[in-house]
């Protein structure tokens, strides 16, 4: 070994170091951790699986969508948040859409178009509102559930997310006539002006209209659960108080009183409902 040139000796030492450390940190460490974890917390270590009637129905940590085959909400269940991953644990992730993603690409011919984050929010808000029987109105949203955004030109303005023949959410903007958007037309040169509108009370909570980071969020906010409670109670012929008590039961408060936000585990809540 001493006769080898120093660069080669160095690389041999490096290779040995890599292999030795791979054994220590890549094999011994995870195996030891797994051994102890499985011994002490086997339920957690294996994914906090919830079984019903001896059959796994999910993980208490992984959200599910409670929709039917058509994707419509099953009215007897509390609904989870929207998910960019469709609650598929093999393709987790978020929408990654930005705060100024406000202009849709309207469907046109073979182009399916694309909904901006704003329109997604508006549409979800409208849908939840309708499902729960409250107003789904939000700032920057039109009453038909798309983003209230104008493209302003010198002589006119276009409500870009409202495809013709829709009626634009305002008739006039600073003296310009507002038109509906013709799919396929290029409005790029116009100035983008989102219009806040005059909505002051928002009934649909924020988590109900936004996708989570993981796409597997098992929780909803207490506010969203309470919004859904009357519907579920009605569908299941339960007293509202009973449902609210269940919500309380499945609400995790802030850890140590200050960490995180209070959250309701939707799967556990729905299972509890089913068990009644």
């Amino acid at each position: 070994m001493d006769r080898l040139p120093s660069w080669l000796r160095r690389h041999i030492a490096a290779l040995r170091a890599l292999l030795v450390l791979t054994v220590v940190t890549g094999i011994i460490y995870p195996l030891a951790a797994t051994g102890v974890a499985q011994a002490l917390f086997d339920d957690h270590a294996n994914g906090s699986i919830i079984e019903q009637d001896g059959k796994a129905v999910g993980s208490s940590l992984v959200g599910q969508s409670f929709t039917d085959a058509d994707g419509d909400p099953v009215r007897t269940y509390f609904q989870s948040r929207p998910s960019a991953a469709g609650y598929d644990p093999t393709s987790t992730g978020a929408s990654n859409l930005g705060p100024e993603d406000v202009i849709d690409t309207l469907p046109h011919g073979s182009d399916e178009g694309r909904q901006s984050l704003l329109t997604q929010v508006c549409a979800r808000s409208k849908a939840v509102g309708e499902l729960e029987g409250v107003s789904g109105a939000r700032p920057y949203c039109t009453s038909d559930g798309v983003g209230a955004v104008l493209k302003v030109f010198p002589d006119r303005a276009v409500s870009v997310n409202q495809a013709c023949p829709a009626t634009p959410f305002v008739a006039e903007y600073q003296g310009r006539r507002v038109e509906c958007a013709r799919p396929g037309e290029d409005y790029a040169t116009g100035r983008t002006v989102p219009v806040r509108g005059d909505v002051t009370t928002v009934r649909v909570p924020a988590d109900a209209v936004t996708a989570s980071g993981s796409g597997l969020d098992p929780h909803i906010s207490v506010a969203y659960a309470e919004l859904q409670a009357p519907r579920v109670a009605k569908e299941r012929d339960l007293a509202l108080d009973q449902v609210k008590a269940l919500i309380d039961e499945h609400t995790t408060g802030r850890a140590l009183g200050f960490m995180g936000e209070p959250a309701v585990n939707v799967l556990e809540l729905n299972l509890a409902l089913d068990r009644r």
Partner: protein, 704 residues
Amino acid sequence: MATHVLESPNQAPAPKKDSRMGGGLLDPKQMIRSLPDALRKLDPRIMWRNPVMFIVEIGAVFTTALAILDPSWFAWAIVAWLWLTVVFANLAEAVAEGRGKAQAATLRAARRDTTARRLKARDPGQWDVVAAPELKQGDVVVVEAGEIIPGDGDVIEGIASVDESAITGESAPVIRESGGDRSAVTGGTKVLSDRIVVRITQQPGQSFVDRMIALVEGSNRQKTPNEIALNILLAALTVVFLVATATMQPLAIYSKSVNPGVPDSLALNADGVTGIVLVSLIVCLIPTTIGALLSAIGIAGMDRLVQRNVLAMSGRAVEAAGDVSTLLLDKTGTITLGNRQAAEFVPVAGVTERELAEAAQLSSLADETPEGRSIVVFAKERHGLREREIHGAAWVPFTARTRMSGVNLDGREVRKGAATAVMKWVRDAGGHPTDDIGHLVDGISASGGTPLVVAEKGRVLGVIHLKDVVKEGMRERFDEMRRMGIRTVMITGDNPLTARAIADEAGVDDFLAEATPEDKLALIRKEQEGGRLVAMTGDGTNDAPALAQSDVGVAMNTGTSAAKEAGNMVDLDSNPTKLIEIVEIGKQLLITRGALTTFSIANDVAKYFAIIPAMFAALYPGLDALNVMRLASPQSAILAAVIFNALVIIALIPLALRGVRYRPSSASKLLSRNLYVYGLGGIVVPFIGIKLIDLLLQLLPGMS
């Protein structure tokens, strides 16, 4: 031992001007005179040595081409101010150099047309006449009254009075003699009396005057270590800003393309930011202020030394002066006045003080040494004894053998001198000095004083207490040094007791008593080993090793050639106190660089706030929020930033030449003050300046 006092040390001339930093006025005429030089420096072969300004010049050329291809009022205004920026930078350097040139001209005159009488052998009768520049090291020349000394050398024979005003500016002639510490003569000085033989010690073309000329002209100025380091930092910043602006282009093109509704502007079109605006941004961001002034600061630093009659052989030494942490100061002439003074008459038992005073005065009447004069004066002040005109007195002068002096008058013999010598004289005359006298002498020695025993034939009268008088204000000076983090060490030949007493009185941190040249060298080495930088002054040949070893060695101009060669600075005034000023100048040089660098970088903040909204607010109206100065229009904003950037160079030339104000104090306080003035000021001033320029510009057509 004590009779050293009778050998008069070099009387240092008082500093000619206030020793505090200051001076260095900027003459507008000087600016105009330097303008041709500044223009000559536009030559790229010269410009490239200053990378920051070279980039500005390239930018100026580029924008000129752009302006020719696509002329507009705005383009030409930018072009003009970019060129002015470069010229202003060159002007700063030219002005700094110009100040030295006048001085160099005088020196050149001294060097011109000198001929030398070169001795062929040691035979004084045979010589040939050669031109001064042809003299080689080791040649021996003879110089007589009225002649100019042809080159630097040592007097090897004779004594003469020499007029050195050409170099020192001091009109009083000085004595130069062979042997000892006053043997060095400088080429270009004039012999006023007598005749000396000089061995030339310089290489041809390397004379003191030659070096002085080169120094004050700044022609072969070498960059100092800190300057090099600073240049690297500035180069790195320049590269960063070049990269930042160059890479902005694809981003700008993209941003323009996603906002197709926004019309093209002077600043931005489909090809991105226009060339003129891009160059303007680069020039505003790269550290032009410090880049333009850096070499002027260096030259001016040397110049400030020259103004104080100190010649630094290298810029490195000036910088090192700022770093000095240990100052070795000779006691005599630096800490104390060059002489001791009578402070007390201590009579022995049976003698009145007045009796002693009278005898002492009598013995000193003919003694012209400062100590002798002080005895006469002290006797007069304390005991009302007036000087008398005495006839028929036989004065006995001091000699190294007798080690005493005195007077024989009307059969009365009075002597004063070193205790041992006088006691012996008393005993020889049959007297019996008491033990009492021994105690007195020891007591005075112990308190740091010098005892001079006064005796009459066969009888000891008492002792004169001669005291070293610490110069006024030294304690404050040393306290100041301590606050600056500089340790002062007093070097003296005195015994430790005496040395300690004086050290305590003067307030130095440490002392080296009974110092030999070897001790000095050892002390310097020890300090340096601990990582400290040491400065010292010296004049004698035996100081040469210590001067060479020290980091800042200031040789006295009166000293030997060996000392002058060994040191890296020469003080033409031969004033040992000047070391303290040299340290301050060194510090001031570094502070000026640091302060202007900070100022330059801090300036960028405001320029961004002017230019970024000007470029992009049309695309993204929200960015107009950055236009905190509310500048009138994109054109006026960009032009105002460029104009401010150029004008600030001119405005700071006086500061660069004068150096920032330096008050000795702790590092923390200095930093706080400079941070407020140059850091905070550097952020605030351009906001005001750019706004004011913009207010004027918006009155012009095409600016809104």
